[in-house]
Symmetry: C2
Subunit: 366 residues, 2 copies
């Protein structure tokens, strides 16, 4: 999706892909085959480019610092990527700055998790510091045995992050684009809907009070400054049952919560990411429509139904975005956005089209 | 721009490009180097693809018929492309079907042009049957000497098309998407503004009466059926000073007059072209916004001003689309669309951003 924005602005780009069959490599001519965790490969990439940016966090902050030491330009910088990669560091930085975060602690052992639970109550949430996404790397732990299992599971990346289990009212995402010269635009606040820790749906605008959305936006802007964001920064937040905002985690790149900006906003997050890292003026971030809903397409089988695309496109106004990825059950292979006047209607159509692409048998579909 | 739509729908494509530096070849990995007027190259392309489509008319209808004879699938078909390529055939077909066209005649000599002018009055318009675009291939001829010059200029493609010089109120474009199974959607009617025969600006919706836009849309649909269009068909029309609609010419592909659909319509013309040729359900064609204006970026020099892109993006809401083409004075190298509430405001901003990209010195700009 970044490539689609790069075409419009005529921005030359080299993509580092681990495999020539990677989704991005299939739709872009200038691809360097290499690994994002190989310093040699990163150096080969950086030598070809005026600057390097990221669309995931599977990079080693030490390698990124080494690139900067050698004079290569990273946007966002290695320091920003280091925070975005490490949930524990995020909690610590944001907490130390006085920003609202769930109660948390670093824990090396099941005993330490138990002590935290003694203070805050079971269940607690145990998270791998890094590498988790789509619900991976997160466990809700109800007792000492669960704590032991969690430490065992994440033993390669200790300490884990243990935090209070926040009873949620809803989750919000704030997307901010920020350029090196300091220009910043914030998208309207979106609601993200998770299932089993994976984002399944994003609703714009978020059904939240004006005050709450203003607070969330302000918080997003403060975090962008705090981590010296350049490009898109996505800030995921909890709203607890008491209506309190808590920072969950950040991503320093275009993010799933912002995919609906392609079809619903004056400027997509992908284009604003490019504009920001190139220090070009940012585009307006308002919605062009009263309501938009994005539903992820999560494959349910290894095989696509032959007519899934046709069935999805038969849903009035379904904007289909497929990622060219191999299907695997549980894997996000695309998304659908529907825009319109009425939120319920828009959501119903987006879910219907996404279900038709996911491979769900017709009888299972909403 | 077709490639951007192909990415979203995960449609595999092979592009036939004459040169590896062609704009499309620079943004797509699967490119076959070859000429669109070489049967061998067309055969090499067709053998790799389930179907062949077009983004220009620089193909030989006889070669396309030969492809069909050998069993390859063309969408649109060779017969449709033959009409789209030949202005004289268009006039004859549409006139014979009782559709409104300017008075016209085929002329092989200056005398024949003179006789036509004797009946219809000077000046007359002389057009090459094919190959003309952006004002090339069209001459306004005021007298017998001009007629002789026109015959001389177009001597390789006689007869020329000579037609009455219609005093214009405005020009309209109707875009229709039609699939092989017969589904058809029509975009709202757009106004096209020409300068020296080149489209410089497109306004949506067209400032025309409801009756006139309905008539234009009906005419567009009739022509789509008449030429058996598949994919996007753009129909350019004149509105004369008496408010009469006259068919000017057609293009059987995504067309400059529809570029604003990328940013302003529920489905872009490029996506609907793909959906149509693949016989997938078509997307809705309504505008998402009250007003949209597209202004072509026409290079004024061989060199870009270093900060042209930044200056253009600084115009609030400017949606910039660059084509990755080498600059040459007079060449279309991109376009800018602005969407919004107020047509005059939107037009002013689109013109301003386009001027900044064109290379016009600041003092010349609107």
């Amino acid at each position: 999706m970044t490539v689609q924005a790069a075409i419009a602005l005529d921005v030359p780009a080299t993509i580092l892909a681990a495999d020539p069959l990677d989704a991005a490599a299939r739709v872009w001519p200038d691809v360097l085959i290499g690994r994002p965790d190989s310093l040699d490969d990163l150096l080969r990439l950086a030598e070809r480019c005026a600057l390097v940016t990221f669309d995931h966090e599977l990079v080693d902050p030490a390698q990124l610092r080494e690139l900067e030491r050698r004079g290569f330009l990273l946007r966002p910088a290695a320091a920003t990527m280091a925070v975005a990669r490490d949930k524990l560091q995020q909690r610590a930085r944001f907490g130390a700055a006085g920003l609202p975060v769930p109660a948390f602690r670093a824990a090396h052992t099941a005993d330490e998790i138990g002590r935290f639970a003694g203070e805050h109550g079971w269940p607690v949430v145990v998270k791998a510091r890094r590498g988790g996404y789509d619900g991976r790397g997160v466990m809700v732990v109800a007792d000492a045995a669960g704590a032991a299992a969690a430490v065992e599971r994440y033993r390669d990346s200790l300490p884990v992050l243990v935090e209070e289990h926040v009873p949620l009212e809803r989750e919000l995402a704030v997307l901010v684009a920020r350029s090196p010269s300091g220009e910043m635009v914030a998208y309207p606040v979106f609601e993200t809907v998770q299932r089993d820790g994976m984002c399944v749906e994003v609703v714009a605008p978020a059904p939240a009070s004006e005050q709450l959305t203003r607070e969330a936006t302000d918080l997003g802007r403060r975090i962008a400054l705090l981590v010296d964001a350049v490009g898109i920064l996505a800030i995921e937040m909890f709203v607890d049952r008491a209506g309190r905002l808590l920072i969950n985690e950040i991503a320093a790149r275009p993010h799933n919560s912002g995919h609906l900006t392609i079809d619903a906003a004056a400027t997509s997050q992908f284009e604003n990411h490019l504009r920001a890292i190139l220090d070009l003026p940012l585009g307006p971030a308002h919605l062009l429509v009263p309501a938009a809903v994005m539903v992820n397409v999560v494959a349910t089988t290894d095989e696509s139904t032959a007519d899934g695309l046709a069935e999805a496109l038969a849903v009035e106004g379904a904007r289909v975005h497929l990622y060219g990825k191999q299907r695997r059950p549980g894997r996000k292979i695309g998304h659908v956005t529907v825009v319109g006047e009425d939120l319920d209607d828009v959501r119903r159509r987006a879910r219907q089209a996404a279900a038709r692409l996911s491979g769900e048998p017709a009888t299972m579909r909403a």
